[in-house]
Structures are given as C-alpha cells and as structure tokens.
C-alpha cells in the first residue's frame, strides 16, 4: 500500500462521480426509468468499449514494465480528462441536469459507495481488499454501472419519499371541500383543451391546472402540493399515459369528478402495442369518474372513441352524434367564427384560433364550463380572448395589409393538410402558400410531400415553393392536380419568397407559411 496509489484511486473515483452528471442527466430525462435510460447507454456503448480498450492497452503496457503505480497514476490522469469533457457536454446540452433533491441523493449515494470501497480497500488485507479495489475502479471507469447502482440503492428511499408526497397530495385534495377535479386525457389535444378550459372556468372559479405538460403521477402530486390554494375551486389535471394502468394510477391520487377525453389514436404504440390498449388506458379515467357519478365528455369526432362508446357519455364534436356541437364554422381575417350548440342553447363565438382541432377543443371546454354553470356571456368573452401558440396556425397581419397564417413550426403531415384546409376556407381571399415541404419523414417523405402539393393545388391561388431540389415532390403533386404553372413559383430562400409575396399581396390576400426550415435543408 502506497499513499500515492490511494490518492490516484480517489482521483479516479472523483472523476467517476463527476462523469455521473451526464448519466444522471439522461436518467432524469427518462423519468428515472432505468429501462428507458438503458437506451441511451446502449447508444453510447461503443464509446465506452473504446475507452475500456484504450485503458486496457496502456495498463497492460505499464504492467509489463512492472510499474503498477505509474499505471494507476496514468489511469487517474485519463479519468481526469473526463471532467472538462463532462463540463463541456453539460454546457452544450439544451435540457441540463436539474439538481433536484433526488439527484442530490443519487450523488450522495455515489460518494458514499466510492468512499466506502476505498476505505475498505485501505483497511482490509488480502483478497477482500483487492475485490474492493477492483469494484471501485470498475465503477469509476464505467459510470453507467455506477449510475445503475446508485439508482438501485436509493430506490427504497425514493419510494418512501414518493409515497409520502402522494399521501400529502391526497390529504390536500381531501381537505379542500367542494373542490372539483377535472381529468383531461387523450392521445392528442389534451394540453390545449386543458388551457382553454382553464381560461373559460377562470371567468367564474378559482382554477388551477397542471402547468406545461406535467402529466405524470409525480407531476400531478407536485402541482397539488405547490399550486393548490385553499380557495381553489377547480383543479384541472392533465393525465398522460405510456402504459396500460398509467391513467388509473393518476386517478387514484387525484380522484377526478369530471373527465374530458380528447382523442384516442395510434400514439406510443411502442409501449401500448395496440390502439385498443390506448383506448382502455384513456378510459380508465372514465371508469374512475363514473364510479363517483360524474360526467365524462368525449370527442365524438375521434373514430376510435365514437365506435366504442354507449349513451352514458357526453359527446362533443362536429358530427350528428354530438350533443355539444360546433356549427356554422367560417374563417376570416379575424380568425374563426362558429356557433357552439350546447344541447339546444347556442353561443356564437369568435376566436383568433384557427383549425378544426382548436374548434373542437373549444367546444369541449365550453361544454364542461357550461355544465359547471359558467354563463354563455362569460364563455363567449373567454373564447374571444384565447391566443394561439406561437407559430402554430397563428393569425397575424402582414405585408400590405394582408393576413398571415403563421404555421412555421408545424412539421407533421396531418397538421399541414389541416393548415391548407384552413387556408382554403378563407372565402373571397386570394390564397397564397409559402412552403419548403416536409423533411425527415423517412420512406414516406415523397408521398407526404406529393400529397401536400396536391392539396395545396386544390386550395390555393398562388404557390411559392422554397428550395429548388427539395420541392420537387410537392411540385409533382401540384402538377398532377393540373395547377396553372404560371401561378407556381420556385425560389431558393425565404427572403426571396417574401420579396416575391410583397409584390402580389394586398388587403384581400391571405398567406400561409407552412414549416420554415433552417437554411441547411434548402437546396
């Protein structure tokens, strides 16, 4: 035993714990599920293998020189290089590690484990000490192993913490007499519906909703503990699911009195496997609410829902089957205007929000609010104040007094078709689209783009494509539809597209900007 040897061991351990930042960051972003985190580990497996091979080579070289101390020192030096590397990666990452209580406990566990192993090595003679040495070095070298270990060691503590928080949240909910909990779930549209519902209910009630997309059990627990006030009258709880049983777990905590199910679709099929499972999971919310005798509002426009429900549900949507219905929909420079038919009572509303999905979300929120006694005047006013999310079918005024539908952040095929449909329904306007098309859609990319082109040709008066090569598939679709070629322009940048647009824009022109891509895509 040698002091120098011990120091290099400690240095190795320190660098190992330091490198844990990256691992824990990944574990945290995978919601502390080691199974999901493992995907990151296997992705970076090759890197770890190279590091190991390299270390093995130099260590055998020095071992052959019969100089184990030098070997250890060198190892430590190699490990030390990881620290600045680690800091650099952290600085570059968009979503950094958040030092929550749990992360601090995980670091604490890592420090204790390493300290324990090194102390044992120093104290224990013979083989036992050697084992501790090997263990310590292995964990310092291969940080994912250390990460798995600390996760496992702290798991019982975390479970106890979790149970305490859950109980505390339940207590807070129970102590607020008269509080109504509304569960909102669905494959798509749940976050928007939640925010619209919150806005409308705020006309009459002190309303709290889960912020952002906090929709896991612990997210709900945190919202209850941090945001619920004694005077809160309604708690809107968004519920997300990736596995069968997820929604039930949240319902057991929040005990919802009312439910909104916005859609059932083929989402998260890697874990759900079938749409049937998605349906079952989403309707765990309906089961919980019905047990309490509450009402369940479902979107009748969602095929997967419509085909599976009986008449115990309150259906909303645009179809004949809906009790709460959007009717007489029209679009204009002001936004959308439509009537909400609440089982006979009609509220005419106007909103800046565009698109069928937004209208259906508004109908859902209006139906719930109406059933809770919010007056038609208040609903009408609240709907008129809703604001679109930035660059998502966002209505703005533009060059020469024309109207712009900014859908620059949309990049999914169905969304694009919906945006083109919205553009198409601006009656009496000259309709212009600027788009580079869609990217990164794999094998179906050509088909989607061609389809977009075909639809645009049907709905638009003037089409401006951005990127000479990349827009070929859209062009194919446009020409297939028989669009006049003199109304089709292809330019090489958005700046050029804008310049061209400004020459033909006037008060009666509406422009849709669909999916703006960074310049590196444009060629």
């Amino acid at each position: 035993m040698n002091i120098l040897f011990l120091i290099s061991l400690i240095v190795a351990a320190v660098s190992g714990i330091f490198s844990l930042v990256r691992q824990l960051q990944m574990l945290q972003q995978n919601s502390y599920f080691p199974s999901r985190y493992s995907k990151f580990v296997t992705d970076t497996f090759v890197v770890w293998l190279c590091v190991l091979a390299f270390l093995f080579c130099i260590s055998s070289f020095f071992y052959s020189l019969d100089n184990p101390f030098l070997h250890i020192i060198l190892t430590a030096a190699v490990l030390i290089v990881r620290i600045p590397l680690c800091i650099k990666t952290q600085k570059k990452s968009i979503k950094k590690l958040v030092f929550t209580g749990r992360i601090k406990r995980l670091f604490g566990a890592a420090i204790i484990i390493e300290a324990l192993l090194i102390t044992l090595y120093a104290l224990l003679p013979g083989l036992a000490g050697e084992i501790c040495l090997v263990l310590s070095l292995t964990l310092s070298f291969i940080t994912p192993l250390l990460c798995y270990l600390v996760w496992a060691v702290t798991l019982p503590i975390e479970k106890a913490f979790g149970a305490y928080y859950i109980n505390d949240a339940k207590k807070i909910l129970a102590s607020n007499k008269g509080l109504k909990v509304i569960g909102v779930t669905g494959s798509y549209g749940k976050t928007t519906t939640k925010f619209i519902l919150k806005r409308i209910l705020s006309e009459k009630y002190n309303t709290v909703c889960t912020p952002g997309s906090f929709n896991t059990p612990m997210g709900v627990v945190r919202t209850v503990r941090e945001h619920l006030k004694p005077h809160t009258q309604i708690f809107i709880c968004e519920m997300g699911a990736k596995n069968v049983g997820d929604i039930k777990e949240i319902c057991d905590i929040a005990s919802p009195d009312m439910a909104v199910i916005t859609s059932v679709g083929p989402q998260h099929l890697e874990t759900f496997l079938t749409v049937d499972n998605v349906f079952k999971t989403k309707f765990e919310l309906a089961d919980a609410v019905k047990q309490k005798g509450g009402r369940v509002f479902v979107n009748g426009d969602s095929k997967e829902i419509a085909s599976r429900i009986d008449n115990s549900f309150s259906v909303y949507g645009t179809g004949e089957n809906a009790l709460y219905r959007a009717e007489n929909i029209s679009y204009g420079a002001f936004g959308s205007s439509f009537d909400i038919n609440l089982g006979g009572e009609i509220i005419s509303v106007k909103t800046k929000l565009l698109g069928m999905h937004s209208i259906i979300d508004i109908v859902a929120a209006a139906a719930v609010a109406h059933s809770l006694g919010v007056s038609p005047e208040d609903i009408k006013y609240a709907v008129s104040t809703l604001a679109a999310t930035e660059h998502r079918l966002e209505l703005k005024s533009y060059i020469n007094g024309s109207t712009l539908i900014d859908d620059a952040y949309n990049s999914n095929p169905e969304g694009c078709i919906e945006a083109v449909n919205v553009l198409g329904s601006f009656d009496g306007f000259k309709k212009v689209i600027i788009t580079p098309g869609l990217v990164e859609l794999g094998a179906k990319e050509y088909e989607y783009n061609k389809n977009l082109g075909f639809n645009a040709a049907e709905k638009c008066d003037i089409i401006i494509l951005v990127g000479k090569n990349r827009s070929v598939p859209i062009k194919d679709g446009i020409l297939e539809h028989g669009f006049q070629e003199e109304k089709l322009f292809t330019v090489s940048s958005f700046a050029e597209a804008n310049a061209l647009y400004s020459t033909l824009a006037d008060k009666n022109t509406v422009l849709l900007i669909e999916n703006d891509l960074p310049d590196n895509y444009l060629n």
């Binding site: 002190n206 006030k229 104040t385």
Partner: protein, 396 residues
C-alpha cells in the same frame, strides 16, 4: 385547509381608531368555517403586529400592553406565495412563516385607503379585497373624484380647488374672488379626507380664513363649493366590480350640526357609542325619500362605481337639495366605516355573506389579471454576453 385572510387595520391615519372598530367588527363576522383570520394591526408608526389579543376591542385601550401580547411581523414573497414572517426574538423563537392567501384592508383615510396600502399589496403580488390603487386614489381626492364622475354624466356641485401656499400668498384677493364666484354660504374642505374631518360651513366672509386654516392643516389642497341651504344627506352603498354591481338601500344620517361631523359619524353623539362605529350613528334606513328618487340615487351610485373602476364595497354620499329637488354626488368612501354592513343587512345581505362576497371579488380580480401577461418568462439577459471585453461584449 382554509383560506387565510389577513385583515389590515389601524395605519398612520387620522381615522386610526375608526379603522380598529370597523376591523374588529368585520373579523368577528367572518365565516370561520371557510376562512382563517390573521389580524394585522398597523400602528400609528407604521409597524405591524399580529396576535389573538387584536380580536378584542378592549385590548386597544392600553397599546403598550397590547404590543407585548402581540408579535411584530413583516411580509415577503416566497415563490408563489406571500408569507407573514415574525420578527425573530433570539435564535430559539423561530416561528414558522404564515402563508397569506388574501389581504383585507379595513383602513380609513390618507396613507392607507388612498391607494397606499393597495400599492403595497400589488407590490407583494397579494390578492386583496376592495378598490385597486387608481380607484382608491380617485376616491380619496374629492376634486378628482368630481371630475371623473362628471365625465360619466353624474351631477356634482362645481368647485374651486386651491393650494395651501397659493392661498397664503394671496389671501385677500383669493377670498374675494372665491366668495364672488361661489357665493355665501359656502363649504370649505380638505380635498383628501373622509369622515368629515376639517370641513367647515362658511356663512360670512370673515370666517373664511379660519375655515381655510383648519382645512390646510389636513391637506395641501382645499376644495370650496356652494353650500346647499336646504340640505339632506343621502348615502348609498355599492357591492361588486366594474362588470357587475348592485346598490343597497339608501340611508339618511341625522345631523346634529349642519354638516355631519366627525363626532356625529363615529362617536354617535353619546359616550358609550364610541366602540360601535358607523353602525351606531343616528340614521334612518331606508331613507325616507320617494321611491323614484331612491332609484335614481341607486342608479347614479352604480354609474359612479363603474366610472372610477371600484371593487368590493363602497359607500357614496349624495347631497339632496330639497329646494330644487336635485341630487349631487358628494364623495365616495372606498372603504366605508363598518364596511357599510348595516346598509346591506337592510338590503337582505348578512354581514358574513357580504364579507364572503367581497373576498370572492378579490379572487375574481386576481383571476382576471392572471389572464394577462405581465412578465415574459424567459430571461432576455441570459442570452447576452457581457464579457470581460467591456462594452464591446454586450450585444443587446
């Protein structure tokens, strides 16, 4: 878990004691099933105290003894909440912070009711009951109040506004001018006080100066208007907010003197009445006036309430010229004595319910504000490099 309501009262105001009486009454009437009550007594020096002794009116007779039974507190923001912190007396007396959900100011007069305490709550981000800064301030300045409600089509008596220094420098000329313009008798009053403090009726030109010097001792700005000879005073309370409000029945306070004086208003003319506040004042509820007139006053009251953007409960005082049979809006009390509960009980709203509705209105206003954007969540500075290169590094 109950909503914690902090009642603020006292304050650096000439109506300090009146405020204590109003607050003690209100704290006793609050629905304790629904609310927890935290009394916050603001001393004449502006220090804040809390403690159970503050619930009893008799305790206020000996203030030093009262302070000893209470603890000094201050307020601060803590994340999403506003908390009341105890001033620590040594290391071991560390009491837990108390989260306050809503503030209920029951304060009268300058340095508090005039928007000052409302500004304090706004600054803390604490929802509060009653008028906001602007409507409180408008309500406190009688001249500005007249301008605002006149614009809304409410009849008011024309007035002259004069500043203390202006008067001192040019007494004779101004006195003559005012008397000529307005005529005698006239009323002189400080622009910013409620509770009739400092108001004098002037019947001859000789007593004008005395009236002025009393008024300027309370306020830098003085208001002079025509005195109505055949005067009846009619008051009406309004409850609600700018979107939706309703008026109470009208009352007619009895006047010992020609103007309702401070003694009339709060001492009730008798020695034992001191602790009962406005409720004990000699008055006729509902006022003995024709229904038509009463409806007109109620309508004007709601108009005034909306014109200044009031919230919660206010009491509006009208002057009725019986000779001409005309009403004029005189002044508004944005936090009326005893919160005008006696007018609401006469209108079928129990005091407990009145307080409940006032608190609900505070939350309603808060919700309206939350729907607006005040701060941009992202920190613009986070993307700026200030750098060690000095000014060149900053790319704002």
């Amino acid at each position: 878990m109950k909503t914690n309501v902090a009642f603020f009262f006292g304050c650096r105001s000439v109506e300090h004691e009146v405020s204590i009486i109003s607050a003690v009454q209100a704290m006793r009437a609050v629905d304790r099933e629904k609310y927890d009550v935290t009394p916050v007594y603001v001393t004449k020096d502006g220090e804040m105290y809390t403690g159970d002794a503050l619930f009893t009116i008799e305790e206020y007779r000996d203030l030093p003894a009262l302070y000893k039974k209470c603890r000094k507190v201050f307020f601060a923001r803590n994340g999403e909440n506003v908390v009341m912190k105890y001033e620590s007396k040594g290391v071991f007396s560390k009491a837990k912070d108390v989260t306050i959900d809503v503030a209920f100011p029951v304060v009268h007069g300058t340095n508090c009711e005039d928007g000052t305490i409302q500004g304090y709550f706004e600054y803390l981000g604490l929802p509060y009951v009653g008028c906001d800064i602007l409507s409180s301030a408008v309500g406190m300045d009688k001249a500005v109040f007249k301008d605002v409600v006149k614009r809304a089509g409410v009849p008011v008596l024309d007035c002259i506004e004069i500043r203390s220094r202006e008067y001192a420098q040019n007494k004779e000329e101004l006195t003559q001018k005012i008397v000529n313009q307005i005529g005698l008798p006239l009323i002189v009053k400080p622009v910013n006080l409620g509770s009739s403090v400092g108001i004098t009726k002037v019947s001859d030109i000789e007593s004008f100066d005395e009236a002025m010097s009393l008024a300027v001792s309370f306020s830098d700005k003085v208001l002079i208007e025509r005195a109505i000879e055949n005067l009846r005073e009619i008051n009406c309370s309004v409850l609600g907010d700018a979107d939706n409000c309703e008026a109470s029945v009208c009352e007619e306070p009895f006047m010992n003197d020609e103007i309702l004086s401070y003694e009339d208003k709060y001492m009730g003319g008798s020695k034992s009445g001191a602790s009962k506040g406005m409720a004990s004042l000699g008055r006729k509820i509902p006022a003995d006036i024709p229904e038509e007139l009463s409806n007109e006053i109620k309508e004007l009251s709601c108009k005034i309430f909306k014109a200044i953007g009031a919230n919660g409960v206010v009491r509006i005082d009208f002057m009725l010229d019986t000779a001409e049979n005309r009403v004029y809006a005189n002044e508004i009390n944005t936090i009326p004595g005893s919160l005008a509960f006696y007018l609401w009980e006469a209108s079928g709203v129990k005091y407990t319910e009145l307080l409940d509705r006032m608190i609900e209105l505070a939350f309603r206003r808060q919700r309206g504000r939350e729907n607006l954007t005040f701060t941009i969540k992202t920190n613009i500075l986070s993307g700026v490099s200030f750098g060690s290169k000095g000014a060149k590094g900053a790319k704002l």
